[in-house]
Amino acid sequence: MPQGRSPILELDQITKAFGGVEALRGVDFALYAGEIHGLVGENGAGKSTLMKIIAGVHPEFSGRFVLDGRETRFRSVRDARAAGIAMVHQELSVAPDLSVAENVFLGAQPTNRFGLVQWRRMAREAGEQLARFGIDVDPFSRLGDLPIGLQQLIEIARVLFSGARIIILDEPTSALSPPEVERLFATLRRLREEGTGIVFISHFIEDILRVSDTVTVFRNGRKVADAQVADTSKAALIEAMIGKGREALEETYTDDIPLPPPSDRPVVLKASQLSLARSLRDVSFEVRSGEVLGIYGFMGCGQLELARILFGKLRPDTGALVVAGDEMAFRSTAGARRAGIAFVPESRRAMLFHQEPVYKNISISILDRISSLFLKPSRERSIAGRQVEQLQIRPAAVELDLGMLSGGNQQKVALAKWLSYPPRLLVLCEPTRGMDVGAKNDVIHIIRDLRARGLAIIVLSTEPETVLSLADRIVVLKRGAVVREFADEAISKDRLLEAA
């Protein structure tokens, strides 16, 4: 183990600011060969920023960067790659229009002596690599046609097998199913034996404790603790992360949770026999006012498509949607909004305008209700200000560009835009994905509050905890079909996982 050896990577007093906001303040960090180093910390604590510095994404920072005992400075991601450092980013970064094989070999296709790509060799090797990782897929198929979870696995595989000696994984497990996580961990352990240095960022502290050797905790741009995994515990890490004992916040859901008896309030949305090509088969359900319907399933089970059908973005091949008694035409997202449906997609990037101020992000969906031909900016600002206050969005400045906010606060803005004029039905995809304990808890409270106000809410998630913490009824989707519905009974995480 690391003691007594010199690290392959050593960072000394790293400081980095974005537009005047310091994201990292005097952070030291060391990584050894043959080590899996877990990083934990709340959103905005600086983990990803530090890793992006290591991967050459942020070339400007202050502090010493020592690789193999020599002080180095990367000017770009290419420099970092050349030095053997590769990173899997939190957001998917693949080329959807290229084949699986091309994605696996992106930027490093095998060529013959004339410089021509050796397609068959590339496909064969890509297939072998993916098979080692437990992925069985045609190397020639278009990557964008595969489910998102599989795309993420392929991206991870590309980095893992790139031959890099330092591998950084930023939230790699958030879109993966439990068996996929197992395969990832097995591969990480094998790479560790081969002497690779691995940094593993995750919000799932159990995962960190299971796979890492060392763990470092970040808070507020500083490193606040580091420990050998053997010497620490989940409670200790959570305490270091958020500064005081708040482990009670994160329930484990191993015990039975009682689901309430069926409600007799009016049905807000009734979906019947929805089918869509290869994604969905005869999906039917209903959701009532003042009720949260959880739709749970592994990545690729069709929930993303289902959510898009509900918001008019995709048109189902067959089936009907009845909203408050009127049949929906599935024509456009604008039509869905007019029918009183609100939607928060699984990716914040797909929902928000990063270069626009917070208040414009919040007002965009209600402009036609608060203004006619001409805008009323003061009204927009006051409405946005109220939402910022109610949802405790920080910093509480409606003029700030959205991109300056941390992920958790951005997610709150994504919710805030629908709440000034509450919709009939709120469709939320992965409302707490990639969020820290505190922000997660905030969002859960916001959603419960909305339910109390009589909204019908559909929560689609691949995280059992999210569904269990919110839902009154749970529908389990598997390969595009409803396989189980839980209502008026006690349920636990194991039973939910078992059903999926």
Partner: protein, 345 residues
């Protein structure tokens, strides 16, 4: 208070160390074109005594008017991260159409259809709106990228122009168009006034109306606009029609301004208009910029074109110099985008 909020809150509440630098960086998109304009004006004023005169300012204003009218609509299109390559052709066909419906002198050998002036103007406007609508439908309903769709429209409009004039030149246009295109009021050419009013109108629409906000949001992040429940197709379609109608107005006044309507008359206006919008700092990636930027861009082009005539250099070299200066402006545009992205990050 929750932990997540307080952590980021305290990080951002502290005084940013380089507030002015950050602001300058994020405003680079607007500052750079303006500096370019000042430098160019300063250079030409120093190089030629005839440049910095009131008369010449009037010349420049008149010279950029037609481009300015066309660029109003194009600004909307580019703000949506689309492009319209048919603007010059639509200007041309609209100018030809308004002449086609006007009684020509007997020596003009065009089988035209003389109508009252108002009818000719309305028909010409309907024609350009219709062509814009075709662009809009191709882009939004069929899903053809605007670059290709408007490339086809460029040919279609040129084809209609060719069929209408058959290689001939028409001279007469309705009186209203003659007045607006080629006469002055109180020493100020009407065409300058029309251009100024249209630029002002475009600015007001983009800045103060709901539609204008939607244009910026669609350009800033189209997916997010759609998931916010905006009718993205309607907005994209509208900007294509606006662009075509602005081009049509520019074409009609241009015909009166030049004194003739003929094939290929507006060819240079395609690149000039795109250059004016982009040099002014409106992002080709959408969501950033505006009419204010377009105005600065128009003046950069106007000063450049006009100034090069005042200094004594090889007229063939001028084309190259223009190209190089435009390139420099575009480089600045891209860098400004990057600096801003970094400031926002």
């Amino acid at each position: 208070m929750v932990a997540g909020g307080s952590v980021t809150g305290s990080a951002a509440d502290r005084k940013p160390p380089h507030k002015i630098a950050t602001m300058l960086r994020s405003q680079m998109r607007n500052i750079a074109p303006f500096l370019t304009l000042i430098c160019l004006s300063g250079f030409f004023a120093a190089a030629s005594p005839s440049f910095a005169t009131l008369d010449n300012v009037g010349n420049i204003l008149t010279q950029v008017s037609v481009t300015g009218i066309i660029a109003v609509g194009l600004t909307f299109v580019i703000l949506c991260a689309e492009i319209d390559l048919s603007i010059a052709s639509i200007a041309n066909v609209t100018g030809i159409a308004v002449a086609y419906f006007t009684l020509q002198e007997s020596y003009v050998n065009i089988a035209n259809v003389p109508l009252p002036g108002w009818a000719a103007i309305l028909l010409a406007l309907a024609l350009c709106a219709l062509l814009g609508l075709v662009n809009a439908l191709g882009l939004t309903v069929i899903g053809i990228p605007s670059f290709i769709m408007t490339l086809a429209m460029m040919q279609i409009a040129a084809g209609i122009s060719a069929l209408l004039v058959r290689g001939q030149i028409a001279y007469k246009v309705p009186d209203l168009i003659v007045t607006l295109g080629s006469s002055s009021i109180g020493g100020i050419p009407w065409i300058v006034i029309v251009a100024a009013l249209m630029l002002l109108g475009g600015h007001l629409v983009l800045t103060y109306t709901r539609f204008g906000r939607y244009v910026y949001m669609v350009g800033g992040n189209r997916e997010a606009a759609e998931f916010s429940g905006l009718n993205v197709k309607l907005i994209l379609g509208s900007v294509m029609v606006i662009s075509a109608v602005c081009s049509g107005v520019g074409g009609m006044l241009g015909v009166a301004h030049f004194g003739s309507a003929q094939q290929n008359e507006f060819d240079t206006y395609l690149l000039d208009s795109i250059a004016a919008v982009v040099v002014g700092g409106t992002s080709l990636f959408g969501g950033r910029g505006g009419i204010g930027n377009t105005i600065v861009g128009l003046f950069v082009l106007g000063v450049l074109n006009n100034g090069l005539d005042h200094v004594n250099i090889d007229s063939f070299l001028k084309i190259l110099i223009r190209g190089l200066i435009l390139l420099a402006a575009l480089v600045i545009n891209v860098y400004a985008q990057r600096l801003r992205a970094r400031a926002v990050e």
